[in-house]
Amino acid sequence: MVLVFVLVGILVLALVGVGLVTASRSRRPTRKAPSAPRVGPGAPAAPAAAGEAPAAERLEEAGEPERVPAERPALRDRLGKARQLLGGYLDGIRGKAVDDATFDELEEALLLADAGVATTSRVLDDLRAKVRSGEVEQTPEALLAALRADLEAMFAGDEPTLALGKEDGPTVWLFVGVNGVGKTTTIGKVAARQRAEGRKVVLAAGDTFRAAAGEQLETWAERAGATLIRGSDGADPSSVIFDAVAHAAARGADLVLADTAGRLHTKVNLMEELRKVRRVAERPPGQLAEVLLVLDATTGQNGLVQAKQFLEAVGVTGVVLTKLDGTAKGGVVLAIRGELGLPIKLVGVGEGVADLVDFDPAEFVAALFS
């Protein structure tokens, strides 16, 4: 305890001077006072009170959804463009003898793909050991193949499927992440997919902070043919999700997709807010089956920190990697999978309603070196 006291003392002295520099900021400003949630135009004028007869039909007539093609685009096809630009990146090492330069090239490729220093050194050290022991042949092609196999093996056993609740009542999938990674867009795409598979979907506009986030989700609800439950701007996100679950339960919907405001994982109070959202989403009749971290493929090493913090706060169950249709490789998910054991579930490859594909380790790893 003495030690703790000393440490607290150090902190007090350091912080007391620092704390007064500017005014405190402990809460986000709210725009308007909260009021009762309203139901978006996906189901026009549906009463918030649950259990009324016409409600079920209203879900059916929830607009003419955009068709999601039965054939989903493969990651391979969507990467065509980005690949072309980088084509033959590793041509330099092909057909030559294996030496230090070969390993340098591989290291460079991994580092440039945002794999991070730790992951890169680890997989390359393994590879060197295998070459020494004769397990891997001394040709660049064999080296590359072995490396790809190693990386793919990191995702062994993962299934890109999203879990559904086992009991009665709507399944809840919660989407979390930092600002601007594409949470709302991802929800729109997931909703369209689930609708195409015949499920009744309710979207919960839990981002009550960012201006017009609700409107953005509303557009997606229309596109996907899902019902939208909204609160007013600045309302408690937990209450919106609570209402959405109640609404879904009353109308016999299968799935609630809960949006949340983007938040940096360093903001203590906002992470607290998210914990509360999770607790509310868990409450019956809702069954929280997935907490999905949405991660931008352009993110660098901070992605691992994000994943750690969100995992610790709300028990993330899987990752959605967005914007992989650009030149960014999203290599940080290697560290996320390796260190935290979080499976990668889905990959976003564009702005269209159908631009969402299942994560495929082989394609992902191939793209790292393309």
Binding site: V8, V12, G17, R31, A211, N302, T327
Partner: protein, 456 residues
Amino acid sequence: MFETLTDRFEGIFTRLRSRGRLGDAEVNEVLREIRVALLEADVNLNVVKDLIERIRARCSEAELSKSLTPAQQVIKIVNEELTGTLGGEPLKIRYASRPPTVVLLAGLQGSGKTTAAAKLARWFKQQGRQPLLVAADLQRPAAVEQLRVLGQDIGVTVFSEPTAPVTVARKGVGEAERLGRDVVIVDTAGRLAIDDALMAEMTAISNAIRPDYTFFVVDAMTGQDAVRTAEAFNDALALDGVILTKVDGDARGGAALSVKEVVGKPIAFVSTGERIADFETFHPDRLASRILGMGDVLSLIEKAEREYDSQVAEKATERLMAGQFSLEDFLEQLQQIKRMGPLQGMLGMLPGVPKDFRNAKIDDKDVGRIEAIIRSMTPDERRGRAVIDGSRRLRIAHGSGTSTTEVNNLLRQFKEMQKVVRSMGPVNRLVNGAKQKPTKGKQKGSRFTPSSRSAR
């Protein structure tokens, strides 16, 4: 927690025997560490290579100075090199002689263009200008609506119409002329650098409105790809500056360095939070320390600024400066600190805290015991007006569920602390100290260590 570079360097240099010049072997070892640190901070690999060569050249030239340890000297070189790369000529906005001054924002999806547009508008307003916002992002659902709401919050008119981005941009500038606005900020849809159609549209917008300033908006969390994206946007648009967003997170922001190297244009603004007011001009030195993993003091300050109740802090500071720091003040500060998260994490951010301290296992429950002890005291005891004798100590121990030994320890430690407080003089020095160069931060931190040592 990330070991600061200084710590790693100290380790390398303790083996350093020859004085006078840095040996090649040591330099190589140090450079390897720097390389890892820069890569971990998301500086692009090719940019890292260039930087390392420049640093190597300077290290081998450098005479060891008397006042600095070799580690400090290398840090100084690295820091100067980074600051130099990030800095250069700061951007000075020159307003068009024939208004309006046209500003165009471009960037990837989700980099924060729309928010940056509103923040920039507010900044121009503060400079005494009358800006107009133009929402030319017709792609993302509700992007126009988002800018409208933000515009309303800051009292800036937003122009848009559901036609085509190029048309909206052109008409927007016309609208600014009609309304007599002297600055017009055009927000555009996020796009990938490899999307030829959208990049062509971007060029078309640029040609239609002939912007005075084109800013590339980039997320501070961006990884290696920042270089490629910045290159592509620079080729298409001839950028004038960079706006770095989301720097309020804990990303080390190496992307800024990459982008600066590639584009060669200044980082004009940084976006430091979610409120519209969280927007400031760029300080190269702060980011340089942060990239090196030494800017944690600044993160700590920022955290304190956010979570600390300024009134409580102000009051405590006054008392501290008057040398009247009491247990009551201490308790109040403790509450504030608790709001900022686990102690262990915060301690890791302080430079100059000895390693064995930093690695000590800290149980936040012990903080609760300290609180309990202080709460079991009478107001007079807390304010130091009553002498806490044996029977009072026993009462306090009973009241807090601790032992008299623990109460004794706490009182003794507190007395030590008060001594430090008195010897420290005005706290201003502390505040300034925290904002100085990181190498100084080390000294600042060590000022605390005597009391810590005697405490053990």
